[in-house]
C-alpha cells in the first residue's frame, strides 16, 4: 500500500493494544469525533516464503492459498525457498497464490524447506519435530541447544534434510 499508517476498527480496550507501541487510538481527522485505532505500517527488511515452485526469473507458484502479495509488497527484500525450480511459472499456470518476479529478489532451491512445518498438498507437518521444537523453546538454554543442533550444526540444506527430515515425511511427498 505504501502508506505510513492505516486506521483499523477494533482492538480498543484490549491488552493486545496496551502492549504494542505501533498502534494508537486516534480521533477522526475529518471532525466526526469518532475514535479508532491507527496502526503504523509494517515495512519489513526481508520477507521469506516457502512455496511449491518458481522459475529462474523469480515467478512463484505457492501451491496453496496465502496472503503473500501484500507482505511481499511491504518488504524491502523478498526471498522465496521452493520445492522445485521449473522452466516457467505464470499467473495462469500458478496453483494457489502467485508472486510475480518483479516482487522477488531471490529464489532458493530447498526441497522440504517447510520442515518441520508441512506444505499443503505436498507433505504433512512433522509433529514429533514440532513437539521437540516447542519443548526446546521453553527456555533460552534449551532453545540455544536446539539452534546449535538443527541450525548451526548442519553443513548445508541437504545435510539438514538428510539428518532431520524423517523417511516418513520424505516418503509422503505427493
Amino acid at each position: 500500500m505504501g502508506v505510513p499508517y492505516v486506521p483499523v476498527i477494533g482492538l480498543v480496550g484490549t491488552d493486545l493494544l496496551a502492549r504494542r507501541d505501533d498502534m494508537v487510538v486516534a480521533t477522526d481527522p475529518f471532525g466526526s469525533g469518532v475514535k479508532s485505532v491507527v496502526a503504523r505500517a509494517m515495512r519489513p527488511d526481508v520477507a521469506v516464503f516457502h512455496a511449491r515452485q518458481a522459475d529462474r526469473s523469480g515467478n512463484v507458484s505457492f501451491g496453496y492459498h496465502v496472503e503473500a502479495v501484500m507482505l511481499a509488497e511491504a518488504a524491502a527484500q523478498v526471498v522465496v525457498t521452493v520445492e522445485e525450480i521449473v522452466d516457467r511459472v505464470t499467473e495462469k499456470t500458478a496453483d494457489g497464490a502467485f508472486l510475480p518476479s518483479i516482487l522477488v529478489d531471490a529464489v532458493v532451491h530447498a526441497p522440504f524447506g517447510a520442515h518441520p512445518g508441512g506444505l499443503t498438498g505436498r507433505y504433512p507437518v512433522d509433529r514429533e519435530a514440532m513437539r521437540a521444537y516447542a519443548a526446546a523453546a521453553q527456555s533460552d538454554e534449551t532453545f540455544a541447544a536446539w539452534l546449535d543442533e538443527c541450525v548451526f550444526g548442519v553443513d548445508d540444506h541437504d545435510d539438514y534434510v538428510e539428518r532431520f527430515v524423517p523417511a516418513s515425511i520424505r516418503g509422503a511427498v505427493q
Binding site: I9, G10, L11, V12, G13, T14, L16, K35, S36, A97
Partner: protein
C-alpha cells in the same frame, strides 16, 4: 442413545447456536469451530434458508484467504459471528491469548486471528464455551483479547450478543455492559449455574428454562447436517463422534 435427555451437550449447543442465525444475514465462524459450523448449517436447513454462511477452513467459504473476510467484516456486512473464549468475564471481555500473569503466562493460546477486530465489526457476536465453570466464566479475564464494552465515541459496528455454554445462555446487556443470565438449559438448576460461574449473576429469580431442542431440530441435525459436516473433511472425525446418526 444413552443420554436421558435424548441429545448430548454438543447437539444442544449446536441447536442453540443455530437459533441465533437470522435469515438473509451473513453469518460466520472461524477455523476450529465445529459446534458453530454445525449450528450454521442447521439454521440454513431449518429457519434460515437464505442465510449466507462462511465457515472458515472448510468447503463453505467464499474466499481463498482471510483478507476478503477481514474487509467484509470491517465494511459492516457480517451479521453474526461465533467465537470461543478460553475465559469470558462479566463485562463481556474474552481471552484467547494466555492465562496467568501477563508477563509470565502459564499457558498461551493461538490468540485467534482477527477476533480483536470482528468482535467490534460483526453486528452480533455469540461467544460459545463447552465448559461452564468458575475458571472459564470469570470476574475478570487474565488478558483482554477483545473488549465487550467500549466508550460511545469509539468506532464500533457491533458487539457481544450472548454467551452459550452447556449449562446456560447469558445475554449481554449493552447499557450496563454486563452479562445477565438469560435461560438455564433443561436438567440444570439456577443455583448450579451460579455456583459454577465466577461472577455474580444478580437477581435470577425470573430466569426461564431454555427451550429444549425440538424433534424437528434434532432430526435435521442428524439426517441433513451430519452428512454435510462429514463432507467437510475438516470436521468429519468430530461429527462422527459428536452427532448421533439419524
Amino acid at each position: 442413545m444413552s443420554d436421558p435427555r435424548g441429545y448430548n451437550d454438543d447437539e444442544l449447543m449446536a441447536v442453540l447456536l443455530s437459533r441465533e442465525v437470522r435469515d438473509g444475514e451473513v453469518s460466520a465462524c472461524g477455523a476450529l469451530s465445529q459446534i458453530p459450523a454445525t449450528g450454521l448449517l442447521l439454521a440454513k436447513h431449518t429457519h434460515a434458508p437464505e442465510a449466507e454462511l462462511i465457515i472458515l477452513n472448510t468447503v463453505f467459504r467464499p474466499f481463498h484467504t482471510s483478507r476478503q473476510f477481514h474487509f467484509l467484516a470491517q465494511r459492516g456486512e457480517l451479521g453474526l459471528f461465533f467465537v470461543s473464549g478460553v475465559q469470558i468475564d462479566r463485562r463481556g471481555n474474552y481471552n484467547l491469548h494466555q492465562l496467568g500473569d501477563p508477563d509470565h503466562p502459564t499457558l498461551r493460546f493461538p490468540g485467534g486471528y482477527g477476533g480483536g477486530m470482528i468482535y467490534y465489526c460483526a453486528h452480533r457476536t455469540v461467544v460459545f464455551r463447552t465448559e461452564h465453570t468458575r475458571r472459564s466464566l470469570v470476574e475478570k479475564v487474565d488478558f483482554v483479547s477483545a473488549a465487550g464494552h467500549t466508550a460511545p465515541d469509539v468506532l464500533r459496528l457491533g458487539g457481544p450478543s450472548k454467551v452459550v455454554t452447556p449449562k446456560a445462555t447469558l445475554r449481554f446487556e449493552s447499557g450496563p455492559g454486563e452479562l445477565r443470565l438469560e435461560s438455564v438449559h433443561p436438567g440444570h438448576g439456577i443455583d448450579d449455574v451460579q455456583a459454577n460461574t465466577g461472577f455474580d449473576l444478580g437477581d435470577t429469580s425470573a430466569v426461564p428454562a431454555t427451550e429444549a431442542p425440538t424433534a424437528h431440530e434434532l432430526h435435521v441435525l442428524r439426517t441433513v447436517v451430519r452428512p454435510l459436516m462429514l463432507e467437510t473433511g475438516t470436521y468429519a472425525r468430530w461429527v462422527e463422534r459428536a452427532i448421533a446418526p439419524g
